[in-house]
């Protein structure tokens, strides 16, 4: 991982475990818009339900750190990036469609 994830502003949670099966998730937002708040809430809920104890969420506010948009090739907001396990996956949108989020995170085999 090149970029040093910066934790900012938002409430973040999740026990940090350096296990191989730990999901490292990064949520890119731009300010506290309703969409980003929804996205975070949705993500938190999905993680708790499916990855309890095996996840780590970092929230990056691009308004505060605009340079970080380059590293993960972020265009859409909000974007969730699954850094670990590899391969990298991206899910854009407010994560309101739980099914698609689970597919995106490879938590569900096939669609």
């Amino acid at each position: 991982m090149k970029t040093n994830p910066t934790r900012t502003g938002q409430p973040k949670a999740g026990p940090v475990k350096a296990k191989s099966d730990t999901y490292v998730l990064r949520l890119y937002v731009a300010g506290q818009t309703p969409k980003s708040i929804t996205a975070f809430a949705n993500l938190k809920k999905i993680c708790e339900e499916n990855l309890a104890g095996r996840y780590n969420i970092q929230v990056i506010d691009l308004l505060e750190n605009p340079k970080l948009a380059r590293g993960d090739q972020i265009l859409a907001i909000p974007t969730l990036v699954r850094k670990l396990p590899v391969p990298i996956r991206k899910i854009i949108g407010d994560l309101s469609n739980t099914e698609r989020v689970l597919i995106g995170l490879d938590l569900r085999p096939g669609a």
Partner: protein, 589 residues
């Protein structure tokens, strides 16, 4: 770079513009792209969109002190740097000096899953950050349409792009958005709906296996612009656009004259040669000496210390030099002195535009006073006469701008009327010389006419055109009952005339001799008479003298006698007048 905008005098009232620094494009658009607004550049693959956009940024940084952001959606920064390095753009240096920011936006559709609504705030932030980091005034988005293949939900994308272009306007940056040509629309995703201030279409066409690029300003809100399709070129110096009618026939005509290199031809053209800065067409069938006329003109310029540029489309320079030696012209010294430069290219080597550009560049670099094109007709391949005519027109404009006296040669194919110029450019030509074959008595000879020569008194007569080992000679031709006589027929006629003249001369001489003889005879007679008279005169004078002596003696004797007889004085006095009168009477007799 940016040409004077004489044709658009009301420039101040127009939109503020952002010069591209691309040769020709600023002329067409009347000063550049709309400042602070987005411009759409669209066209098919490989038509030069990215390059045009890149040149806009590089020129901005180099020439106009405006830094820029290049956001690439298709090529990585490394690839871009490499690609444009071949055109002489040192992107590494420009990025290091914070003049240009290259940002590669990469989207891998496989990686991306959509869940719910999103916006492109990330792109905005990223672009905004790049713009603010160097205070950019120019932005390029190349090719933003690839977002459509990378991101789901085109409805959101469309709305977001519209927002993006508005946002760019608010930021006050001059932006170029490139787009791939669509089936029936200018761009595949109909970007022209959102970017409506200025739309430029690039095209790349192949005709007769020769490709040519074209550029057209489809739309330019709030500004006049050239509406034609303009050919453009991409070469080692980047893009150059050639406005067809860039100059509105405003050149100032020179009244200065320039010798043709053939003294007799000067005489035919009112005694002084061509007008400086005019264009001359020398047309003729094969082997009539067109190249010789052209070379002599170039040589005469060189001998005055002027520069001559010779574009040869059929012969190599060494071939021309060798061939000209046969008529006693050595070009080598002028080439070595740097006054004569050859540019030899096959017409098929490139498209017409490319030729025009290379010609333009060579002229700008060499700054010649005299330019030769030999022959123009070799550009005609297939049925591209119209295009060639357009090119020649632009060529002439180019030469007039550069104040070059230009000589074109043009081959007339056997069989076609010699006065019909193949290119139908006759009306554009100032001075038109026609070299013609005259066939009499089983031989071909060359003749030269002046078909037209604008603005000067010129002879309407044909002259015989001789290629000798000491250059070109023009001779009067004989016009007899059987028509114009040239070559041997002329020589025969010359001999006959000479014989007649000799005869006449002899006659005159003999008459003069006769006259002389008569004069001598007369003189002799006069002398004889005079001699005879002289003899008689002497005799007469002698007799007179004797008679006077006798008279005197008589008087004396009478006086003596009187003295002895003692006569009175009165008597002697009376006799004296009578004595004096006597000699007078004698002389009169």
């Amino acid at each position: 770079m940016a040409k004077p905008r004489t044709q658009i005098p009301a420039i101040k009232k127009q939109l503020p513009k952002s010069p591209t620094g691309i040769q020709g494009l600023d002329e067409i658009t009347g000063g550049g792209l709309p400042k602070g607004r987005p411009t759409l550049i669209c066209g098919g693959a490989g038509c030069g969109k990215t390059l045009l956009a890149m040149e806009f940024l590089v020129n901005g940084a180099r020439l106009f002190n405006e830094s820029g952001v290049f956001m690439a959606f298709e090529e990585t920064a490394k690839e871009l740097i490499k690609n444009v390095a071949s055109l002489g753009f040192d992107m590494r240096d420009l990025t290091a000096r914070k003049k240009i920011v290259l940002d590669f936006v990469y989207l891998e559709p496989i990686e991306i899953e959509e869940s719910g609504e999103y916006n492109l705030e990330g792109l905005f932030i990223r672009l905004g950050q790049a713009i603010d980091s160097i205070g950019a005034k120019r932005v390029v988005l190349d090719t933003i349409e690839s977002l459509f293949s990378g991101l789901p939900n085109p409805h959101i994308l469309r709305a977001e792009l519209r927002r993006l272009f508005r946002w760019l306007k608010e930021k006050g940056v001059t932006a170029i958005i490139t787009g791939e040509r669509g089936e029936a629309t200018l761009t595949r995703r109909g970007l022209e709906e959102y970017v409506s201030d200025c739309v430029i279409v690039l095209d790349h066409r192949v005709a007769d296996q020769i490709s040519s690029r074209r550029l057209r300003v489809v739309k330019y809100r709030g500004s006049t612009h050239g509406t034609n399709e303009y050919p453009f070129l991409i070469d080692e110096d980047g893009i150059s656009v050639l406005p067809v009618t860039s100059l509105g026939l405003q050149q100032i005509a020179s009244t200065a004259r320039i010798p043709t290199g053939i003294p007799r031809l000067d005489a035919m053209l009112g005694g002084a040669g061509y007008y400086k800065g005019s264009n001359v067409l020398v047309s003729g069938t094969a082997g009539t000496g067109k190249t010789s006329v052209a070379v002599l003109f170039a040589v005469s310029a060189c001998s005055r210390g002027e520069r001559a540029l010779y574009f040869s489309f059929e012969e190599s320079p060494s071939q021309i030099i060798r061939n000209m030696r046969s008529i006693g012209i050595d070009l080598e010294p002028w080439v070595q002195k740097g006054l004569l430069q050859f540019q030899a290219n096959r017409p098929t080597f490139a498209g017409l535009e490319m030729h025009l550009m290379t010609i333009s560049k060579a002229v700008n670099a060499f700054k010649p006073q005299v330019v030769i094109f030999d022959p123009l007709t070799s550009f005609i391949i297939g049925d591209n006469e119209n295009e060639v005519k357009m090119m020649v027109m632009r060529l002439m404009d180019l030469m007039k701008i550069n104040k070059c006296t230009t000589l074109f040669t043009s081959l007339i194919l056997g069989g076609s009327s010699s006065e019909q110029s193949q290119l139908h450019i006759a009306s554009l030509i100032d001075t038109w010389l026609l070299l013609d074959d005259i066939e009499i008595g089983g031989e071909r000879n060359r003749g030269i006419y002046i078909l037209k020569s604008r603005g000067m008194a010129h002879t309407n007569q044909i002259r015989e055109f001789l290629l000798t080992d000491h250059g070109v000679e023009l001779r009067d031709v004989y016009v007899g009952p059987s028509g114009v006589l040239t070559g041997s027929a002329r020589l025969v006629q010359e001999a006959q005339e000479k014989a007649v003249q000799t005869l006449r001369e002899q006659e005159v001489e003999s008459r003069q001799l006769e006259l002389e003889r008569k004069r001598t005879v007369l003189d002799a007679q006069i002398a004889a008479l005079r001699a005879e008279f002289a003899v008689q005169e002497i005799a007469s004078i002698k007799i007179i003298g004797q008679e006077q002596a006798q008279e005197a003696q008589l008087v004396k004797e009478r006086a003596d006698m009187g003295r002895s007889r003692k006569a009175d004085k009165a008597l002697t006095k009376q006799k004296e007048p009578r004595n004096e009168n006597k000699p007078n009477q004698n002389r009169a007799a």
